[in-house]
Amino acid sequence: MNDTLHLMTVYSKTTARAWFQYRVDAVLRSLAVFARESTGIIVIYFTLLKFNSLNGWNIYELLFLYSLIFLTYGIMIIFFTGLRDFGNMVREGSFDRFVLRPRGILFQIIFVNSDWFAAIGHGGLGITLFLISAGKVGVHWNIYNALYYLFAVIGGVLIQGAVFLFIATLNIYLIETGSIKELLYWNVRKFAGYPISIFNKGVQFLMIYIMPYAFVNYFPAQFLLRKEDMSQYPEIYLYLTPIVGVGMYLLAYAFWLYSLKYYKSSGN
């Protein structure tokens, strides 16, 4: 155990050192990720200056809804960069090294690399949006709400982590999964910044039951904000985020363990 902790520290140190070797570039890159991810926010902001509300949600409520996506992604990517880039590892054959080392494979993937630019860019944006909106959405912040928020964030991190783990696992069967990830993850995410109630039933179904982004931000935000459009969904969904997160993660992890047996190196 002690040994594992030591290994974790060493890995984290080398990763941070590698990422921040070129300081100016590191600052610029984090800034660029921040700016790129802000695009959607700026668009919402300008739109709402004109229209005041979107299906009953005002600008602060929308920012609050958006903040959860960035915050959870920022935390998730610290751990799961290795899974995001897993396809490359398999294609180049560098994954073989992990298989041979005397440590858990997932442990190594999680701690060997962290995309700090993405973490700072996304996470920083999430925190910024939270700070701007949290005081203005009429949420009475007590210990009960704060605990709920904490669990919702953990659940959101697990949901997104599970999706990454699931897609990474597919790499064991298929060499190229970039387009599946684009389709399943990034495209669906484009909807997630808005209250799902404005979309048609098909998109809503997708976001609740297939790629359950709604549990990352919509339902947790609804628990705290209680907007009218919640009436079309079962009340229980407000409480499911942590369960969906743990459940999905366990499923993805089981799929991963099962699939590892079939791993064949692409190396030569």
């Binding site: 700026i42 668009v43 684009e182």
Partner: protein
Amino acid sequence: MRITPYVAYAKKNFLGRSAYRVDHFLGILSTCLQFFIFYEIYRALYGDAETIDGITMSMVTTNFIISMGLGMVFRPNDFFLPGKIWDGSISTELLRPISFKGRMIAENVGDSAFNLIFKFIPVFLIAFFTTGIHSPAGIFNVALFIISAVLGYGVLWSISFAVQMTAFWLINIWSIVTIKNVFINVLSGSMIPLWFMPEWIGGVLKYTPFSSIYFTPVQIYLGQLGTAEIVYKCFIQIVWIVMIYLIGDFLWNKGQKKLIVQGG
């Protein structure tokens, strides 16, 4: 100057693009999704209102179809020059008896021609049959729209050209390119129709090239501009192309003297 090698480069890129089928369909799907998201958002925003500030929902839809569609066609390769500097192949490229800038344009024109036929048209048809599109103000407007769209492409290309030139000094320009694209996405009207921008932004936009890219063609298509205004706006487009190109060209000449090739 002989034109044949440039045509060959354009053709090479046109054919090369057809190799990546999955990538291709995903590009179409992704743009359609983006379009439907904005469509649904504006439907929710409009509610029962017929027009807002004299702009109808169908004009908003048209703005999105045209600017996103053109956005799919206009895809300057922001990493063309930086890529050649990274791997050192710029040194051999410069020795070739053809213009490097001419080749940049030619390759991009090849890409764009491919995108026009195999991306723009499908997206346009999908949007046409699902949401409908405002009909053009007249045949005259369609002709001017095409001219203005080509000029818009010129503006977008020259911005990319000038930004790429900074690679001579910075080596890694991913961050700058990304930030440039944020400006284009937000201010060109492809994510928020410029009619609905706050007034002060409209004032600032007059002094930037961003509204010349997609919004001028959209306005011409919808017949929002009189003849004099159309001539003026197209003239502005040309001014931007020349100005930004000259800045890029200045950097290009400076940069070559400064060029350090790492390895080879």
